[in-house]
């Protein structure tokens, strides 16, 4: 007679496995809580809890941050149009050369257009450039756009397979494995933030960031707010790369976060607000820090 029956043994085994998994999780959570980067912005609230279940797709194992709603503040008064964010994003997110422009697009807009007199979009368009002349140029201002991670996202609404979805912590993400490439979301997005893989991506093996999946041909992709970084308490790559601190990222639900403080203290607006998309990117025109 063995001291324990087979059933008991299995029960113990399962229990032990569970305990190991649990302890690893706890250890991970503890280590994560400790290593929140000491940056100016702390995107994740101090009492950061992970909701169980719902492992996130895209090959990135992250989980929604409970109680958080991430958002970005872009200061078009500070932006000098250098497109460093665009390039940083491109390398961080494995965007191939065939997707052009990459996920971020920076408009250079002429100052001569009298904005207070309600310039028409046509006037703006005529005065606009997305060409990469040396910047900043006198008489130009710059407007950086990317996926707005709308709360009421038209792209999520129209997707016939649910390949794009809104997460509880504010991201609009893509499941590249579900996407059939109908591009309905592309035409539904008023910000033209979505990109399509018209041809198979060509990337050097050494340039690939292993944290971000490489998208196959024929699927739609877009800015993810660097979900693989930001859910772990880091900043999106574009925010890090900005040489003039025109970008700020954080938890809009946390009144102490930098974005919340900025939005409380500064007048702000969102793009195409009348379309009721509720974007998560807000724009301010605070200007440079040291102009005083």
């Amino acid at each position: 007679m063995s001291p324990i029956s087979r059933r008991q043994f299995i029960t113990y085994l399962v229990g032990a496995a569970g305990a190991v998994v649990l302890s690893t999780r706890v250890a991970q959570a503890a280590s994560k809580a400790g290593d929140v980067t000491q940056s100016r912005t702390d995107p994740v609230p101090a009492a950061r809890k992970k909701t169980p279940g719902k492992p996130v797709v895209d090959g990135v194992e992250t989980q929604a941050v409970a109680g958080a709603k991430f958002g970005m503040v872009i200061d078009c008064g500070a932006c000098i149009g250098c497109r460093r964010c665009q390039y940083a994003c491109k390398t961080e997110n494995n965007t191939p050369d065939t997707i052009s422009p990459a996920w971020i697009e920076v408009f250079g807009l002429k100052n001569e257009v009298d904005l207070t007199g309600h310039a028409s979009m046509e006037e703006l368009r005529q005065g606009a450039t997305t060409s990469y002349t040396e910047s900043p140029k006198p008489g130009m201002w710059y407007l950086a756009t990317q996926c707005n991670h709308c709360d009421n996202a038209p792209c999520v609404q129209v997707c016939p397979t649910g390949a794009t979805y809104k997460t509880e912590d504010g991201y609009v993400l893509m499941d590249y494995k579900k996407c059939v490439g109908c591009r309905f979301c592309v035409v539904a997005c008023p910000y033209n933030a979505r990109r399509f893989n018209w041809v198979p991506p060509k990337l050097d093996e050494k340039d690939i960031n292993p944290q971000v999946p490489v998208r196959p041909v024929g699927v739609v992709e877009k800015c993810t707010f660097c979900v693989h970084r930001t859910r772990d308490g880091k900043l999106p790559r574009c925010v890090e790369a900005c040489p003039v601190s025109a970008r700020h990222f954080g938890n809009l639900n946390d009144p102490q976060s930098e974005v919340s403080r900025l939005l409380r203290s500064t007048p702000n607006f969102r793009l195409l607000e009348d379309l009721n998309t509720e974007p998560s990117i807000r724009y301010i025109t605070r200007g440079r820090k040291f102009t005083g």
Binding site: S39, R83, S100, S131, P243, F290
Partner: protein, 211 residues
């Protein structure tokens, strides 16, 4: 007396610890160890420069500087200074920032006389542009700790600080994919055969109608 010993000892300990730890830290973050850079810079970095810009023979500097005689920069370098010409006349303007004896140009000199490595040039700019340097330190041009902060000279040419922006704009995005060309021969053959078939069909049908 007891307190003084304690404080001095603590300071000594801290300094030693700092000297030991700093290179390790710097190495970990991929930067050139500051302690290793002195007025006589390491040969390796000079070699690296030569690898890029040419050989030692291409540089008609004193082969073995004694470290005392100031160099006559302007005898060779026709550097025009815009705005920064107020730093001094002739070579004195160069010495305002560069170490007068370091022909390898690896070091810079603060007004206090302290020598700093070239990589920390922003500190030198801060000697006059204090407010901007403070803002820079606060992270206006990159967040300390996450990515290397972009130094002043990344954008502002130190010799022409007002007129020239250096290397700030990233190049244009690469062109998009172009569709493959039409296989003309195949298309012509197909067009002719389709036209012939349709014309033939119509002619035959006509003939059958009115024989």
């Amino acid at each position: 007396m007891k307190w003084l010993t304690l404080v001095l000892g603590a300071a000594l300990f801290a300094a030693v610890a700092w000297l030991l730890v700093r290179p390790a830290l710097a190495a970990a973050s991929g930067e050139v160890p500051a302690a290793a850079v002195s007025a006589t810079a390491q040969p390796s970095s000079v070699d690296a420069n030569y690898a890029v810009y040419g050989t030692a023979a291409d540089y008609p500097h004193p082969a073995a500087p004694d470290g005392t005689a100031p160099l006559d920069c302007l005898s060779c370098h026709k550097q025009t200074l815009n705005y920064h010409d107020k730093l001094g006349a002739g070579n004195r303007a160069c010495y305002a920032c560069h170490v007068s004896t370091d022909w390898k140009m690896d070091t810079l000199q603060l007004p206090s006389g302290a020598v700093i490595p070239k990589d920390e040039s922003s500190q030198l700019c801060g000697q006059c542009h204090q407010d901007r340097y403070n803002a820079w330190n606060e992270g206006t041009h990159g967040i300390p700790g996450t990515v290397a902060a972009i130094p002043c000279i990344a954008c502002h040419n130190p010799h022409q600080p007002q007129v020239e922006f250096l290397n700030i704009t990233k190049p244009p995005m690469p062109p998009v994919h172009t569709p493959p060309p039409l296989p003309k021969d195949l298309a012509i053959i197909l067009g002719i055969s389709v036209a012939c078939l349709i014309a033939g069909a119509i002619i035959l049908a006509r003939r059958r109608e009115n024989p």
